[in-house]
Amino acid sequence: MATMSMVQAINSALDITMERDQNVLCLGEDVGYFGGVFRCTAGLQEKYGQHRVLDTPIAEAGIIAAAIGMGVNGLRPVAEIQFADYIYPAFDQIVSELARLRYRSGGEFFAPVTVRAPCGGGIRGGQTHSQSPEGIFTHVCGLKVIMPSNPYDAKGLLISSIEDDDPIIFFEPKRCYNGPFYGDPHQQAVSWAGHPKGEVPEVYYTIPIGEAAIVRPGSEVTVLTYGTMVHVAEAAIEKSGIDAELIDLRTLLPLDIDAIVESLQKTHRCVVIHEATRTSGYGAELIADIQEECFWFLEAPIVRVTGWDTPYPHAFEWHYFPGQERIIEAMKSTLET
């Protein structure tokens, strides 16, 4: 085992899949010669050449569309959208083409494209470098949507994604690229060294798509989240003394509803957390699912802790970002009912 940051784990997943399968290639803005602005593709062009690690022009629609054409003919492109915030120029290609090819062709062909996109806030990126658009993509039939929270999961899930025949939007919570973030910007940043999920095998392994992970077992309330908020929630639970069960969803679509139901059968209470804005966010879908499956044994209204319904502000970042205090309050409110 080696200690890896999430960046290194992603790099390792790309390296291993490219090594194993000649059809895997990477493309995106500054991914090749430069190695990616977050360094996720560092060294890969040197190793695999310019035709397997392509520097593209700044043209997101073109990147995704080209990946589709490649994928239809049996290549396995991993397209990097440099920040999730730049994915919208490619939205049409993702929604109208990538997601629907299999259905549209009556199952005859498909494009096994993985779209990697660093997402989330906490980096003072403001309106166009902080967003969490996962809920926009879970609304699109035909896509699978994944967001790991740590290096170990990132590697295993990315390998699974690249090998999967369905198109995948793979969101990487960039605030945790180099270490877990517990929600307090004044605390000294920590690295992944010493975190159990920073221990990553150097070899090939996979984590199945569609399986949630219990980060911390508990009995009083179930806390559902993913990405950076897993760590913030973990710290909040610790601080609160509440015996909460923390579930890292890891895959948003397909959702591991069984893990959720099982937990709620024990706790009967639930808090849902995400960085993304509230209205029509992924949390709404989660709560609807839970309501359908768990209504008769819920003992309190399910509470959401989310970003505010505003564009991501430059000022106020630490109010917008769901911090420990808001999470603790939410857990308490479910226990009081």
Binding site: D55, A59, P313
Partner: protein
């Protein structure tokens, strides 16, 4: 085109020095951790904003880029409100909610810096349409980079502007790189202006380090637009002296030291200053006095920003909708 009077020459120089000193100090403030987030500095490209904006009134509108401080300053932006915005203070142009990459001010005709590459181009086209629709002689200017010319938005904007003969000028600031990728790796042409022909408008290449050359070329394009003769694509060859983002950026080598030095020898401020000295329009003492007074302006603006309050938490949800 306005004749290039001594007054205009002086204004051009003042404009360029203001941008340079604003940016140098913004860079320092960021390095000291006082300005949060990314800053894309305009150092090295000052002649373009100065030369273009000299032809515009507050009613003429521009769309800007992620590298937008110079555009706003040249368009009439005030340093105190700009620094305040970068700091995230309530006295900033956008109440601190926008920051460097999203700064705007309608009063001076600046429709916005933009964190999304290429996004401003078609918006300028719409602004130009409204000018024509209202039968004014106002123009719209879209600033964009060499990298942005590969986005679909550029092509849609160019085509629509040409077919509707709109009063817009597309000003390409070709600094040879889109982030860390050299132009030769992201497009198969050397002159972005070549693309104009494909849309049926003139494409003009100008030395973006020579403010007088920019002034003259921009003047012609803007005159054309005002007279109803349609859009122009004006490409200014330039170079950014700092890294893509921040002063030193991520510290990776993607340009050679020699290349940077070569361009710095053509520093637009030095070139223009020498011209003004040669023409005896300015003395070294004048230049020093001017720099001093602008330094004072910068210091006062930074002090204003630092002493301004953060926005009040109660306003967090404001301005998403009408009320």
């Amino acid at each position: 085109m306005k004749e290039l009077t001594n007054e205009i020459l002086n204004n051009l120089y003042v404009c360029m020095v203001r941008i340079r000193l604003f940016e140098e100090n913004a860079g320092k403030l960021q390095e000291n951790g006082k300005i949060p987030g990314a800053l894309h500095m305009y150092v090295g490209e000052e002649a373009i904003a100065a030369g273009v904006m000299a032809h515009l009134s507050d009613q003429d509108q521009i769309t800007s880029t992620h590298r937008g401080h110079g555009h706003l300053l040249a368009k009439g932006g005030e340093m105190d409100k700009m620094y305040a915005e970068l700091f995230g203070k309530v006295t900033g142009y956008n109440k601190g909610k926008g920051g460097s990459m999203h700064i705007s001010n309608l009063e001076v005709g600046m429709l916005g810096a933009n964190g999304i590459v290429g996004a401003g181009l078609p918006i300028a086209v719409g602004a130009a349409f409204s000018n024509k629709f209202r039968k004014t002689d106002r123009v719209a200017i879209a600033f964009f980079g060499d990298g942005a010319s590969n986005e679909g938005a550029f092509h849609e904007a160019a085509n629509l502007a040409a077919v509707l003969k709109l009063p817009v000028v597309f000003v390409c600031e070709n600094n040879g790189y889109g982030e860390f990728t050299p132009q030769a790796q992201h497009q198969a042409i050397t002159d972005v202006a070549d693309r104009a022909a494909g849309y049926g408008m003139p494409g003009v290449v100008v030395d973006g380090m020579e403010v007088i050359a920019v002034y003259e070329a921009a003047g012609e394009a803007i005159d054309r637009a005002r007279k109803g003769e349609g859009p122009t694509l004006l490409e200014c060859k330039t170079y950014r002296f700092y890294d893509h983002s921040g002063v030193r950026g991520m510290g990776f080598n993607y340009r050679t030291e020699a290349e940077v030095e070569r361009w710095k020898k053509r520093d637009p401020l030095d070139l223009f200053k020498q011209h003004l000295l040669d023409q005896e329009l300015m003395t070294e003492a004048d230049a020093a006095a001017l720099a001093d007074s602008i330094r004072q302006e910068v210091e006062a603006a930074i002090e204003f920003a630092e002493n301004s309050p953060d926005p009040d938490l109660s306003t967090l949800l404001e301005d998403v909708y009408t009320n």
